[in-house]
Assembly symmetry: C2
Homo-oligomer: 337 residues x 2
């Protein structure tokens, strides 16, 4: 037990260093399941002026517990053990945790910020969770779920603009693009049964890409392409020739570069938050047909990649990226159509 406490304090100190170096939010994912441990965290953090929000996830539904244990078999801790052995070990772990478990308490913890989540958000209690960040955490927990489903991401089909490297505009699909739309229909129908929620923006090329799929589209301008501002309808070559300084500024920092009177990747990331919540929340399969920058950001989010990697995420034309969102899987499987 002493060794455990030692490692727990190491983790806490690492977290504190991160915050002291300018980090905004840090998660301490550890077994903080007794009062002493939580008091230690609280006193260490409050002395430094950091606000602590406890998150307690309670599960008393035997079926959910069993499913959760099964999903833990993919946990790296168990990679060298047989499924039966791993399962037995995990149930034993649960029994051990129970011995020392002291839940958050309405009276004792009345001054603390905490969220108690029962059976994956079916019932939730939040104390002193006022403010945008805290309420966003509550909101995320209410939307997240364990229902198995697929998420498919792709760019619209080819247009004469994409072929010639022209930014922006509202061009129609060309022949290649129209063929992709048909193949996309066949692909989704072959994999997706009928329960597919389709999210797309209002551009013509995206509308034409999803049209063969029929059904209800969720059209949302938040999914529109990164706005090229004054450089809309130009090619990178033209920008390089006419605005070499801007071209170099973009080359040096694609993530933060904002087109004159347009957007940056970070701007698009900000406006996509409500869309991400919608995708997280959806219990159907979801297909998102978008544009390069938008799909890069969504892929980076669901594949758990760092923000800095967004502009370099590989997103190919006429390729569907399939995600199978679970706790231990952040792979995107590409299907070239």
């Amino acid at each position: 037990m002493e060794l455990r406490a030692y490692y727990a304090s190491l983790a806490l100190e690492e977290l504190i260093s991160f915050l002291l170096e300018g980090g905004d939010v840090a998660l301490l994912d550890a077994t903080n399941s007794n009062v002493d441990r939580r008091n230690y965290i609280a006193s260490r953090c409050s002395s430094l002026g950091f606000h602590v929000l406890y998150l307690e996830s309670i599960c008393d539904d035997p079926e959910l517990i069993h499913k959760n244990c099964l999903s833990k078999l993919q946990n790296p801790d168990y990679k060298d053990r047989s499924p039966d052995e791993a399962l037995a070990d995990f149930y034993q772990r649960l029994e051990n945790y129970k011995l020392n478990y002291e839940p958050l308490d309405k009276e004792r913890d009345r001054e603390s910020s905490y969220i108690r989540l029962f059976n994956v958000g079916e019932y939730i209690v939040a104390n002193h969770c006022n403010g945008v960040l805290e309420s966003d955490v509550v909101s995320y927990l209410l939307n997240t779920h364990l229902v198995p489903r697929k998420i498919w991401l792709c760019i619209h089909g080819e247009t004469d603009f994409t072929r010639r490297g022209i930014l922006g505009g509202d061009p129609p699909l060309n022949q290649n693009g129209a063929e992709f739309a048909r193949k996309l229909h066949d692909f989704i129908r072959s994999r997706g049964k009928d329960n597919v929620t389709i999210l797309c923006d209002r551009s013509l090329r995206v509308a034409q890409t999803v049209r063969p799929l029929a059904g209800d589209y969720n059209r949302c301008t938040l999914l529109r392409e990164l706005n090229g501002g004054d450089y809309a309808r130009m090619t990178y070559q033209e920008i390089k020739e006419r605005y070499p300084e801007e071209y170099m500024k973009r080359k040096r920092n694609k993530l933060e570069y904002r087109y004159p009177d347009g957007e940056s990747y970070l701007d698009v990331k900000d406006r996509l938050s409500p869309v991400i919540m919608k995708i997280v929340s959806c219990r159907d399969n979801v297909l998102i047909v978008g544009h390069v920058a938008v799909i890069r950001i969504l892929l980076a989010y669901f594949m758990d990649k760092p923000i800095a990697s967004i502009p370099d995420m590989e997103v190919k034309m006429h390729t569907v990226y399939e995600l199978d969102p679970t706790a231990y899987c952040h792979e995107a499987v590409p299907y070239e159509l």
Copy 2:
């Protein structure tokens, strides 16, 4: 009591008509404080396929109760009565309510969707509130508060573009605009003490307008002006001459009109949701310096105007609109500087 039940059922039927005619969300703000009444609502709604979410607001903090009673003096019910009389009447009302009050119950209502809010969101319980709409309601309730503060809204100072009616671009303030920036500083300092949170976008004209105020700005591209797309840097006169059909389309329906490869008022409204939550949540005074379409939308929201009225909201240059958000006040007081 029978008359009360009659009026309550009238209100419910009116709400049901609204939903049957295509309404998405309706609020039944009534004394649904006993089990029978709630069961009646639930059975009536579920037979029509409408989902019911109960919202129970519980207050047991005597100080909050007193403040709330005081604020009720502004309620139209009490406009002809003396403050003492009104207050006594309201406390008596509370006693009467208590006689029939049957709270939501964890066991009895375990299959229902409900939110129980204690002392203005200090503590909150949510049952079956999964999904985007339900979690947005929870989020709103966690962010809303009764702390008195002011909200100031204004457009950036004048630029040569605004003077000549040119859309978009990133022009600097002209001399009039710079003078407004100085006056805005004096105005805010004279009214706002020091606790002012400033929200603005990243355009030059807005940055120059808030610069004299110094302090911390919250820069957020979600507050950028309605995107004129292909018509950026044109005047309405030019649009009329070069694209008469588009000009007429916009004239006929300003609310839904979307500039080619640009945005509509409704698009901007959608992207402003997280900003509105930030403003609602803020317990400081807030100053938002924005652009015409953005300020129209924010004013319409805080003045509780219908969406259709957004494009016609009066928003003058060099004028600060002051809001004093309370339950019974949706006035914006204009200060011409």
